[in-house]
């Protein structure tokens, strides 16, 4: 029998621990496929977040170094500046990158660090149990926004990718969603382009991936996908936000 589909080399033979319907497993696989296709597995270093994907090193079969919550861009900066020929990526959730790590991320982008950030936006703090994230939508119910996120009390969803696009050192920023085969293909293309941008030594690149969180949204996987496509994309429209690569 001919083998037509297999696990990418850049993924370890470990079953994902992610919840049913979560986007992380898909996004992990896409990153791994891109690493394989670019042939960079033995010079790639990943920096996971604190959050649901903290155990990413159980899955990615590349060198990895943990970072304190939110500090991935700074850790990646130190690493990449020492290992100029390596490919360094961070993998971060919305709380990690857009709340506690805002400063590190914006300044890494502004310095034009040759790193790639994979930013998984599910509008909620997942691992800690569904609290409000910087990207939580207006009116969205979370464990710390009872009755829904109220603007006068809780502020507005933060468009980190838009902010990063303003930084002169960022080169390529795109927002995608892994809610359909088309969206998954688009996401993979974006991730590939982001890594290529780094390989071409052009500057900071980031892909923001909208990703369902059925567990904390208290929705079925199917409804979660619909919520991303119909509600979340109104606040976070899918598009190439910046491309000067």
């Amino acid at each position: 029998m001919k083998k037509i589909f297999s696990r990418p080399d850049a993924l370890k033979d470990n079953p994902f621990h992610y919840c049913p319907g979560c986007g992380h497993s898909i996004i992990h696989r896409l990153v791994a496929e891109v690493i394989d296709e670019l042939g960079i597995r033995d010079r790639t270093i990943g920096v996971p977040p604190a959050g649901c994907a903290v155990l990413a090193y159980n899955y990615f079969d590349v060198d990895m170094c943990e970072a304190p919550h939110g500090r991935a861009a700074a850790v990646a900066t130190g690493m990449k500046r020492i290992l100029k020929d390596s490919v360094v990526f961070t993998y971060q959730g919305d709380g990690d990158i857009a709340a506690i790590g805002t400063a590190e991320t914006i300044h890494a982008a502004n310095r034009g660090e040759r790193i790639t950030a994979i930013f998984v936006n599910n509008a909620v703090y997942g691992m800690t149990g569904g609290q409000m994230a910087p990207t939580t939508l207006p009116g969205q119910e979370t464990t710390t926004t009872p009755g829904g996120r109220l603007q006068v009390r809780d502020g507005y969803p933060l468009d980190l990718s838009g902010m990063l696009a303003l930084a002169a050192g960022s080169v390529y920023i795109e927002r995608t969603a892994v809610t359909s085969p088309k969206g998954i293909i688009r996401t993979k293309k974006a991730i590939k382009k982001a890594f290529e941008t780094q390989l071409e030594d052009k500057g900071f690149s980031l892909v923001e991936v909208l990703s369902p969180c059925p567990t904390n949204w208290k929705m079925s996987p199917k409804d979660s996908i619909r919520w991303v496509d119909e509600i979340m994309t109104k606040i976070f429209p899918l598009k190439v936000i910046k491309d000067v690569a």
């Binding site: 170094c65 943990e66 304190p68 850790v75 130190g78 400063a103």
Partner: protein, 356 residues
């Protein structure tokens, strides 16, 4: 460089770091230590293999140290008291991830914003871990320009050898003071022992992970005991001190860093009036050199601890002496620098049995 050079403390530290093979410096401006990052920036600008980044914060700079250390470089950062508070998160991670790094604290008056004058209020923070969790940081306390050079080399060597963060604890006065220094020969970073644990891409080997998350309590416990064994080995190996005129002393002043230099002047003065007084100067603050101090109890009647704080190291002195001798304290916090005359008067009255 075989001749002595006249340099200020911060520049001595920077030059010694480069000669120790440091090729990565990350920092954020704060007085009184700015001459150190400025020195690193000017030297690294002319070196192809060295990285200098003025980070957006102390937090970012210590995390850049984590990245560079994980990639195998001899990396350092420096700051002064308030900035060191911000670095404590990263220092805890360095300890947990067993990454070597050198952190310089040129202490200033505190707490809070305090002031920019020399002080020693960060002893507890430096020697008790500073950040969260069950860990220790090696703390070296130079008192002279030459010692800054020697201890900076030692700091990088200890950090690599034990795979642990090392702090050099100075103060604003030490950083500014110019003294003649003889530097050690430069180390070629490529000649240093290979680090078999770095993450630099998995070419020709399996992939590696450097982490501090151990969700399973027995594994975290095992990791804590592993660190504890390392700290025990360090405690048995590196404690160091200077003993000055202690052989016949009836009273011994205990002080470190700049305070020890002032105390030495005081000891010198009271000796001239015939008092048998000596100085015990810890050169490592963690591990604290307890044993030689305890040994002094055989012939020393009392100890007087002098610090530029309201009294922090005095606790370690009391722990070492274990109640066998009287331990009194004199200190000036907040950036006030005592004169040798002032300390001599305190020593003299303690010697004659008058309480302070």
């Amino acid at each position: 460089m075989s001749a002595k050079t006249l340099m200020r403390g911060t520049h001595v530290l920077g030059e010694a770091a480069i000669r120790a093979g440091c090729r990565a410096y990350f920092g954020y401006p704060i007085t009184p230590q700015n001459e150190l990052p400025e020195y690193m920036a000017s030297k690294f600008a002319k070196m192809d293999d060295a990285v200098f980044i003025q980070a957006e914060s102390e937090i970012a700079s210590i995390n850049m140290v984590i990245g560079a250390a994980a990639a195998g470089a001899r990396a350092m950062t420096s700051s002064s008291s308030p900035g060191i508070s911000l670095k404590q998160e990263g220092i805890s991670y360095l300890a947990a991830m067993e990454l070597p790094a050198v952190i310089v604290n040129m202490m200033r008056g505190g707490p809070g914003l305090g002031n920019i004058a020399p002080a020693q209020g960060d002893y507890f923070q430096a020697t008790r871990g500073g950040g969260h969790g069950d860990y220790r940081v090696i703390v070296l306390a130079p008192a002279y320009g030459q010692e800054i050079a020697d201890m900076t080399r030692q700091a990088f060597d200890l950090a690599d050898y034990y795979r642990t963060p090392v702090m050099i604890l100075g103060d604003g006065m030490m950083g500014q003071m110019m003294e003649p220094v003889l530097f050690p020969e430069p180390v070629d970073p490529s000649s240093l022992p290979k680090k078999e644990w770095v993450v630099n891409g998995s070419k020709g080997r399996g992939s590696r992970v450097i982490l501090s998350l151990l969700l399973d309590p027995p594994r975290e416990e095992e990791h804590n005991w592993k660190l504890a064994r390392k700290y025990q080995a360090i405690t048995e190996t590196i404690p160091d001190q200077e003993m000055y005129l202690t052989d016949d002393a009836e009273l011994v002043v205990v002080a470190y860093g700049t305070a020890a230099r002032i105390a030495k002047g005081a000891v010198h003065r009271v000796r001239q009036s015939g008092l048998k007084v000596g100085l015990y100067r810890p050169k490592t603050l963690w591990p604290f050199p307890s044993k030689p101090l305890a040994k002094l109890c055989d012939h020393v009647g009392q100890f007087l601890v002098f610090e530029m704080s309201t009294g922090q190291m005095v606790e370690d002195v009391r722990l070492a002496v274990e109640g066998r001798r009287e331990v009194s304290f004199y200190g000036r916090p907040g950036g006030v620098v005592s004169t040798p005359e002032e300390v001599a008067a305190i020593v003299s009255s303690a010697y004659h049995g008058k309480s302070n």
